[in-house]
């Protein structure tokens, strides 16, 4: 997206104080557009103006419902809290801080691209994969449609094409892997954001940036980078003006999720020793002499 357009869209929203804040904040640290590994996005909900351009860009990028841009200008949609689904990989919702209810703020939600994703651990055929540079991607060709990923995701993100009878897919944000992030491209939503509420970069840099913003504007942000530690860390992270409890983002512990089951699985099947040992033991019992005493034992 050209700078001219971005400026134009920015000016259109110039009445917002947050815009100016966003501009200045983004300039604090020049982040490389190109990032070959550990790509991440920082969502600054204090800067987001709820314009839903990211939704439009995502819709266009992935040929979802192919609505035109005007359809995404509808602000009445904020009356209900929406969730991403198979026809919208990202949605923006409006929230209010109870202590400052006049001023709404907006949270864009999509796949968080966890560092250790539960969906990837769940997948029976490896159709979901965490790429080294960040994205969690899906291979429909492998998928059997068991929907364990939907059950497993702590953010309730994977959406299923329940209405497709023959070739249903699991649908979710792809982190725009198909745009080839390694070659200096950014995700469509990041590119479309007129207010730089979305910052794309390496995860380490963005964590640094997030904490720098909190430090620089302590009254504007709650001291919590959502996604830095949640479920072991996510590739999408959030800053917010108030406690994250006000938003739809769930309160989650810092522990990675997959070790819960992987530790059990790998202990029980370590080198196949336990099952083979059981086999051997049962074989020995079976080979030993039949227990004739039992013949008389039946209750009469």
């Amino acid at each position: 997206m050209s700078l001219g357009r971005r400026d134009f869209l920015g000016l259109a929203a110039a009445s917002s104080v947050t815009l100016l804040a966003g501009k200045s904040l983004a300039n604090e640290q020049q982040l490389p557009k190109e990032c070959k590994d550990a790509c991440a996005v920082l969502v600054d909900t204090a800067v987001c103006i709820g314009c839903r351009k990211c939704e439009w860009a995502c819709n266009r990028q992935h040929n979802l419902s192919n609505q035109d841009m005007a359809a995404f200008d509808d602000k009445t949609i904020f009356k209900i809290q929406r969730r991403p689904d198979d026809k919208a990989y990202t949605v923006v919702n409006e929230f209010r801080d109870p202590s400052n209810p006049e001023k709404p703020y907006y949270t864009k939600v999509q796949c968080m691209h966890c560092l250790d994703p539960a969906c990837v651990s769940a997948c029976i055929v490896g159709a979901l994969e965490k790429l080294p540079n960040g994205p969690v991607v899906y291979d429909a060709w492998k998928c059997i449609g068991c929907r364990y990923c939907i059950v497993a995701c702590p953010f309730q993100i994977p959406a299923y094409e329940y209405d497709n009878a023959l070739t249903p897919q699991v649908r979710k944000c792809t982190f725009c892997t198909e745009r080839n992030l390694a070659e200096g491209n950014v995700p469509a939503c990041v590119e479309a954001c007129p207010n730089e509420a979305l910052t794309f970069g390496t995860r380490d840099d963005l964590i640094g940036l997030a904490h720098a913003r909190i430090k620089a504007y302590p009254d504007r942000y709650v001291d919590h980078v959502y996604g830095e530690h949640e479920v072991g860390g996510t590739s999408w992270m959030y800053l917010a003006p108030a406690d994250f409890k006000n938003t739809e983002l769930p309160e989650l512990p810092p522990d990675r999720i997959p070790p819960n089951t992987e530790n059990i699985q790998h202990a029980v099947f370590k080198w196949f020793v336990p099952p083979l040992a059981l086999y051997g033991l049962l074989g020995l019992i079976m080979a030993s002499k039949p227990d004739k005493e039992n013949e008389q034992e039946a209750e009469k």
Partner: protein, 420 residues
């Protein structure tokens, strides 16, 4: 007594009024299945992006696997521990397991969106050793094959030296009979491989089924979220094995107007209180260590269901089956067994559906009428097939003297005596 009983095909009329009702339910379920394959999961189920799994997974698959545990538990006691008197119940239990697991596979196929990819877990480049579901999938696929091998000797027994194909294909009689004879010899030699494999595979996937929801720590009710879940699933599956045999055996004898094998069944049911006791101890220890007793007594829907599981499904049958007087009556056995089965079914539904809380759904999942019909249809199909199998194959044992008069072919008897 067992020594005088031999398995024979049951010669009775297939359709009775009761069977016709079951057949009607089966037909309704078949319509549901057709509807699902033509119009997709969205058209027939109440599933959504919050509730990814419904009763087809919680009942058809998860309860199906647990209730087929009679197969490996009786095989273990009769064949591995050589408690010979239980041979009379191994065949019905094996048949239930074989049909049960076949329907588990079918249930999975109905539930998964890309059913034609069901074989993908077998491809080495798609193996996913981190997934408990992969483990379940591989083990169930292997075990269902093992069960076919375990059942095959019964097919051989029925048809060996009696292959009689009609008309033109009659030329195949000799070759097929030859194959059966060779298979008979081979299976007699290596049958033990499958019997032990069946037990090991069952241990593996019964427990891994309990591992599935351990991956969902943040969306599970604390009463059921425990790392002990795989062990609890395994022990409860072993515990429900014999009650399932008791339940079916009593129902089958009622249906075919045979005398129930009370002494053998009572003898088998002696083990159940110990297994239930072990399960109860683990459950109590688990609640104590995780400090979640307050949830048991908060008198919410969850706490009532949890108490029902433990009191009606574990403690009451433990008492009934511990008391000799009750254990040796058909009524006592049947009540005890039914309660254990009910407890396990409730537990599986609780773990997969009740305990699971999606983040944003305002309405709890409840199965659609089609989901219920398909599940009922699958159970009906299982009953109908069971009935057909025991009429075709020598599965259910009957007293030798009663059978002698009715038997149309003494070779069945001869074969059986040889096998034993």
């Amino acid at each position: 007594m067992s020594a005088h009983e031999i398995p024979v095909p049951i010669k009775q009329q297939y359709f009775t009024p009761g069977v016709k009702v079951v057949f009607a339910v089966f037909l309704a379920g078949a319509v549901g299945v057709a509807y699902r394959f033509l119009y997709g999961l969205g058209a027939v189920t109440n599933l959504d992006n919050g509730y990814g799994w419904g009763i087809w997974i919680a009942i058809d698959v998860s309860c199906g696997v647990a209730l087929a545990a009679g197969g490996f538990t009786t095989a273990a006691i009769a064949e591995i521990f050589h408690k010979e008197k239980y041979h009379v119940i191994t065949r019905p239990a094996l048949l239930t397991a074989m049909l049960g697991y076949t329907f588990v596979g079918f249930g999975v196929m109905i539930d998964i969106g890309r059913w034609y990819n069901i074989w993908h877990p077998m491809l080495p480049d798609m193996w996913q050793g981190n997934s408990a579901l992969f483990e379940v999938g591989i083990c169930v696929m292997t075990y269902v094959t093992v069960l076919y091998f375990e059942f095959f000797p019964i097919v051989i027994e029925r048809f060996k030296s009696r292959v009689n194909l009609p008309a033109i294909i009659a030329v195949l009689n000799k070759p097929i009979d030859g194959i059966l004879h060779i298979a008979d010899k081979v299976l007699r030699k290596i049958g033990w491989v499958f019997i032990i494999a069946g037990v090991v595979l069952s241990f593996a996937h019964q427990s891994s089924l309990g591992t599935l929801m351990v991956l969902v720590p943040t969306k599970m009710h604390p009463l059921w979220y425990t790392h002990l879940s795989p062990l609890l699933f395994l022990i409860s599956a072993i515990a429900v094995g014999f009650p399932m045999v008791v339940f079916e055996s009593i129902l089958a004898s009622r249906s075919f107007k045979l005398k129930p094998e009370v002494p053998i069944l009572a003898s088998l049911a002696r083990y159940t209180p110990f297994l239930l006791g072990l399960y109860l101890a683990l459950k109590i220890g688990d609640l104590t260590i995780r400090e979640v007793w307050p949830y048991v007594f908060e008198f919410s829907t969850e706490s009532w269901l949890f108490m029902a599981e433990l009191v009606l499904g574990v403690i009451v049958p433990m008492i009934i089956l511990s008391i000799r007087k009750y254990r040796r009556t058909v009524g006592g056995l049947f009540t005890g067994a039914t309660l254990v089965i009910g407890g396990v079914v409730l537990n599986r539904i609780d773990v997969f559906l009740v305990a699971y809380k999606p983040l944003y759904q305002t309405k709890a999942y409840f199965p659609s009428i089609w989901e219920i019909l398909v599940t009922a249809g699958c159970i009906s199909a299982l009953i109908l097939l069971y009935r057909a199998f025991v009429m075709i194959f020598p599965v259910i044992s009957q007293p030798e003297d009663e059978v002698a008069g009715r038997m149309d072919d003494t070779s069945v008897k001869a074969n059986f005596s040889k096998a034993r």
